[in-house]
């Protein structure tokens, strides 16, 4: 109070002012004073009063304080006082030593003032702006105030922050603050901010929260770190729990890998501080959040895979087998390993291979099961082991087979403790919890696995010496029926519920097991007795389970036992129990208060050992058989209600259904085959079409190549054409020569013909002359005519003509000879031309050059060479024709020669005859007789005579 008095400024002593009055005065000063210092002092005073007079300060000063926040932005000191004051009136957990009543009152106050503060959402926005202020005196109380507001009215404040742009981002910046206090309080703020608001969680994650938080955890020493690590982990849990988008981001961002080093705690029992235990516990929970059975299956599967690949699972298994690990950490580790391996074959296989570092090494599964059936172990640990075992067997036929195999006579190993032995031990131990756990564990080895259900029927147990072995199934029912007589620790109901669940799981969907069960004459009477008895509340569940077991015996009955056909069992129910009664008892199961709790999630979690009654998988079986709702009857109820006729009908329907099923399966098979075929064909088509495409592209390529080659060929041809011009010229000459020759030859031939004709003409003339001579010879006797003289002149004339003719012929012949000579020369010149010139050699070099450049062109070149060869051939043939012509010419020459000779001969003859004629004429003249025969001669040879006569006359 002294302090207040001081603040009030030396007021005169009198009746002390009440708190309310003082606060009112302070508020007035805050509102009206123009001096910043005055206002600051007033706010400071309000702050100091705010704890004691929380109610008064809150109601009277809040508006003024908010006003200060808005107007006095420049003075961080006054802002700090105002924020502190607001924090004091809004925050609830300030006064710790309060009784319950006062606490409640305080809670109400906090809620009330928060309500008032956030009435205007601008106030939150204002607060967010103030958080940008770097000054410690503003930022720190600002963080605390916002945290308090979030604590009191989370949903509303979250809503306001979410819609204010950059609101969440600003708060995320707090994690980067170099002042640890602010960073740490920022963590607490973000924890409150992200509670139950997925949208905010995503934005926080988007703002790199994972990276920063993991960095802080590492900086702070991971599990050895302090409460800051714990806060980081709590925030991470908020961000990831049930938020598949963030889980996906966490996994994609490779943050799972960063969790692995957390669990490298080793065997050094350097001490497990409470903080370390808390930190590790949260770390394990974080792992579990990523692989929780309630996550979307895709997320869990990919995270499980990742945890195996990065060695996180292996690390966890090391903790599992380490010594000195506190029980609750060990328990949580077991639960974590459970969920990391659940339903993941690779992880399950790895887990099966883990050995405890004992001597001799034992499988981890065996070591864990030993704890499960050990009464001295903590209840939660035993539950965790059961969960681990269940997760190991979940969707793991291989693992189920391996567990059952440890009980089979053929594979049993007497030297070491096996999982099967431990389970049997647990099943028949004197501890009801062990009984229950072992029964449920064994049931999980049979879940959805017909093979193992049948295999387990083979298991025989040696009871006591001298007695024959008893089957496991029989032993279970024996204990069930003798249960009351055996002294046991724990609840008798628990043991029987466990065994009944095991039996139900075992024989459901397995007619052989049903037959085995019914084969024991005691079982059905026991069940009917149990169901029909009017027992207390405790026994109701057992009655319900017995009814279920009997129901399964009917439903999965293959009628192979005469005494216990479906029909007979139904009659039995009707007679001994009554259908309605039976159904009512059956209903006891689902109506049990613990049933729905177990149905929620796979992990067996029970507040106390007594409440350990239902197994999650078993609730699924019940659901399958009896349906969830009372309104829709389950298959068992239906089976019991049905009359025998209906049953028969049902049987028939079933058969036809089965037939249909068969047909359907056949068709399915067919469809599957066809599907495969289609797939195959599709693939073929795809490959074909791709091949086709390839072919087409190669074809187009080749086409273009060919086009190219053609072009090049054309170019070459052109070039070659030029080069060959000389050749072709000479060739042309040759042909010209040839043409000339043939022409000349024909001419020659014609001339020859002409000459021959003339020759024959001459011969005939000579013949005529001979005849004439003969007549003349003969005529001298009769008439040595005077005409002989004229006759002689005529003959001479004729001879002159003949001579000139012969002369012209001979000149013609010489002309022909000259021509021929010329032709010969030309032909020789031509043959000289055809000899390959140097041009062709340069051409060849060019071609070689082209060859090197375009290998594909060789064919073209060859073609060209061929054509050249052809040309050469043509040339050769031309040459040969020339040769032939030459020989012909020679022949002709000889002929001409011969004809010349003949002509010479003829000329000689003519000369002889001329002489003869001359001598004859002389003689005739001597004789004095005119040659008379001249007229005759004239008449015979008119034309020549005419000419002669004209000459004579002229």
């Amino acid at each position: 109070m002294n302090f207040i008095r001081g603040v009030m400024g030396g007021q005169a002593p009198g009746p002390q002012p009440s708190g309310a009055e003082t606060i009112q005065k302070l508020c007035d000063r805050v509102a009206s004073s123009t001096l910043l210092e005055d206002r600051r002092d007033a706010v400071r005073a309000l702050k100091s009063l705010s704890k004691k007079y929380r109610m008064e300060v809150g109601t009277q000063a809040m508006d003024h304080l908010i006003n200060i926040l808005q107007t006095d932005r420049s003075d961080s000191e006054i802002l700090g006082y105002a924020l502190d004051t607001l924090y004091n009136i809004i925050c609830n957990d300030e006064e710790e030593e309060q009784d319950e009543n006062a606490q409640k009152q305080s809670d109400d106050l906090g809620a009330q003032f928060t309500e008032k503060f956030i009435q205007d959402s601008e106030h939150i926005t204002l607060l967010l702006t103030l958080l940008e202020e770097f000054d410690f005196h503003v930022r720190w109380p600002g963080v605390k105030l916002l945290t308090a507001l979030l604590k009191n009215q989370g949903v509303q404040v979250q809503g306001i922050i979410l819609v204010s742009p950059m609101g969440v981002s600003r708060l995320m910046d707090l994690l980067a603050d170099s002042r640890e206090v602010i960073r740490n309080d920022g963590l607490l703020l973000l924890q409150q901010l992200t509670k139950g608001n997925a949208a905010i969680q995503k934005i926080v994650a988007f703002e790199n929260a994972f990276e920063r938080l993991l960095d802080i955890i590492t900086e702070e020493g991971s599990s050895d770190g302090g409460i800051v690590v714990e806060d980081c982990l709590l925030l991470l849990l908020n961000l990831l729990k049930n938020n598949s988008s963030n889980q996906n981001f966490f996994k994609e961002g490779s943050y799972i890998q960063r969790m692995k080093p957390w669990f490298e705690v080793g065997d050094d029992n350097s001490g497990w501080s409470a903080q370390k235990v808390t930190n590790l516990h949260l770390m394990l929970q974080l792992v579990r959040v990523m692989v929780s059975p309630v996550n979307s299956p895709g997320t869990t599967t990919s995270c499980q895979k990742c945890m195996y690949q990065c060695g996180l699972l292996q690390q966890l298994c090391t903790i599992l087998m380490a010594t000195g690990v506190p029980a609750d950490i060990l328990t949580e580790t077991i639960n974590t390993v459970s969920e990391v391996i659940r339903g993941s074959q690779v992880n399950q296989d790895y887990f099966a291979s883990v050995n405890a570092p004992s001597n001799p090494p034992r499988p981890a599964i065996v070591v864990l099961l030993m704890s499960m059936v050990n009464e001295r172990q903590p209840f939660v640990l035993r539950c965790a082991v059961l969960y681990c075992f269940q997760c190991f067997l979940y969707k793991n036929q291989k693992g189920q087979g391996e567990i059952v195999a440890t009980l089979l006579p053929s594979t049993i190993d007497a030297n070491s403790i096996s999982a099967g032995q431990l389970l049997c031990g647990g099943l028949f131990s004197a501890d009801s919890l062990s009984n229950w756990c072992a029964a449920v564990a064994l049931a999980h080895a049979l879940q959805d696995n017909l093979t193992q259900k049948e295999q387990l029927l083979r298991v025989q147990l040696a009871t006591s010496l001298g007695k024959p072995p008893v089957s496991l199934l029989q032993q279970c029912t024996n204990i069930l029926s003798q249960g009351d007589k055996i002294v046991r620790r724990g609840s008798k109901v628990q043991t029987r519920v466990g065994l009944l669940m095991l039996l139900c799981t075992w024989i459901s969907n397995c007619p052989i097991a049903v037959t085995h069960f019914l084969h024991n004459q005691d079982n059905v009477p026991f069940l009917t007795a149990q169901i029909s008895e009017n027992l207390g509340e405790d026994e109701r569940l057992v009655q319900g389970l017995c009814a279920l077991l009997l129901g399964i015996c009917i439903y999965y009955n293959d009628n192979s036992l005469e005494n216990y056909t479906k029909e007979k069992l139904k009659q039995l129910i009707e007679k001994r129990i009554g259908k309605e009664n039976f159904v009512e008892k059956l209903g006891f199961i689902t109506k049990h208060e613990l049933y729905s709790r177990a149905a929620l999630k796979p992990q067996p979690v029970f507040p106390s050992p007594e409440q350990m009654l239902f197994d999650h998988e078993f609730t699924k079986l019940v659901k399958e058989l009896e349906g969830q709702h009372r309104l829709c009857d389950g298959v068992i109820t239906k089976a019991v209600h049905k009359s025998s006729e209906e049953d028969k009908k049902e049987e028939e329907v079933k058969k036809t259904l089965e037939q249909h099923d068969n047909i359907v399966t056949q068709y399915k098979e067919l469809i599957r085959e066809q599907d495969a075929q289609i797939q195959e064909l599709k693939e073929q088509v795809a490959s074909m079409s791709s091949q086709n495409e390839q072919m087409q592209t190669t074809i187009t390529q080749q086409l273009s190549q060919i086009q190219q080659h053609k072009d090049q060929y054309n170019i070459l041809k052109l070039k070659l054409g030029k080069e060959n011009q000389t050749q072709s010229n000479s060739q042309g000459d040759g042909s010209q020569v040839n043409g000339l020759q043939t022409e000349e030859l024909s001419q020659l031939r014609e001339e020859l013909e002409e000459l021959r004709r003339q020759h024959t003409l001459l011969q005939t003339q000579v013949g005529e002359k001979d005849v004439l001579i003969n007549t003349l010879r003969s005529s001298p006797q009769m008439a040595e005519g005077p005409s002989a003289g004229s006759d002689n002149t005529e003959l001479l004339q004729e001879l002159e003509v003949l001579k000139s003719q012969v002369q012209s012929q001979s000149s013609e012949i010489s002309q022909l000879k000259a021509e021929r000579q010329e032709l010969l020369k030309r032909a020789e010149a031509r043959s000289a031309d055809t000899v390959p010139t140097s041009d062709s050699s340069s051409d060849a070099s060019k071609m070689a050059d082209l060859e090197s450049r375009l290998t594909a062109q060789t064919s073209e070149k060859e073609k060209l060479e061929e054509s050249r060869a052809q040309l050469e051939q043509q040339l050769d043939s031309a040459k040969s024709t020339v040769a032939i012509l030459q020989t012909e010419k020679e022949k002709l020459q000889t002929e001409v020669q011969e004809s010349k000779k003949e002509q010479d001969d003829l000329l000689m003859l003519l000369a002889d005859q001329d002489q003869k004629i001359h001598s004859l004429k002389k003689r005739l003249k001597d004789l004095g007789q005119t040659v008379e025969d001249e007229d005759d001669l004239d008449a015979r040879d008119q034309t020549s005579d005419d000419d002669d006569e004209d000459e004579d006359e002229g």
């Binding site: 950059m166 981002s169 997925a198 949208a199 790199n208 598949s244 961002g253």
Partner: protein, 200 residues
């Protein structure tokens, strides 16, 4: 997986169906990731699809600051989604850092028969506002990869030009674990052996 850079993308705009096929529509934003290669470098893309409904717009605002790229998506079969582009763009420009690369995407190009917005209109809008434009079909995956790659190329070029401060993760860019930054090369020469990209 090792990557040279990590880019954060957001997908905005009015779309009744998300641009990427994603499952959970209950909350505003869905996350996806993919790897692309640009200039021989592996680039990891983290994509936040903001589902773009009007009711989520205020939530979307919180994502602008930390994103390196945004795909502004409209539905070519719904004129109203095109009409809202301006508002989205204003929002994006106002709340993002100025270097954020925005690409305009006309989605559902597979539904040509129901088209209400011409391709030319999209192109004109993009030209007017200086955006890269593309029509895609998330259903048939046509151009979707290209849209991501083209945006990434733009960002990558800006990095090469030194426009982005790559050491500030708030820009939505992170350097890969094996990629030495200019800073870390300096510090490593002084004996520090820290991988780049960590926030300090």
């Amino acid at each position: 997986m090792a990557y040279a850079y990590l880019f954060k993308y957001i997908i905005i705009g009015d779309t009744d169906k998300r641009f990427q096929p994603v499952h959970d529509l209950t909350i505003g934003v869905e996350f996806g990731a993919r790897m692309i290669t640009i200039d021989g470098k592996q680039i990891k893309l983290q994509i936040w699809d903001t589902a773009g409904q009007e009711s989520f717009r205020s939530i979307t605002r919180s994502y602008y600051r930390g994103a390196a790229g945004a795909l502004l998506v409209y539905d070519i079969t719904r004129r109203d989604t095109f009409n809202h582009l301006t508002t989205w763009l204003e929002d994006a420009r106002q709340h993002s850092n100025s270097n954020m690369v925005i690409m305009l995407i006309g989605n559902k190009s597979d539904l040509e028969s129901r088209r209400e917005v011409k391709k030319e209109e999209g192109e004109a809008f993009a030209r007017e506002h200086g955006l890269v434009f593309m029509e895609t079909s998330a259903k048939t995956a046509t151009n979707v990869e290209e849209a991501f790659i083209n945006t990434a190329k733009d960002i990558y070029e800006k990095i090469q030009e030194g426009v982005f401060d790559i050491n500030n993760e708030a820009n939505g860019i992170k350097i890969g674990p094996q990629h030495p930054t200019t800073n870390s090369t300096l510090s490593s020469s002084q004996g520090g052996h820290q991988a780049g990209g960590g926030c300090c």
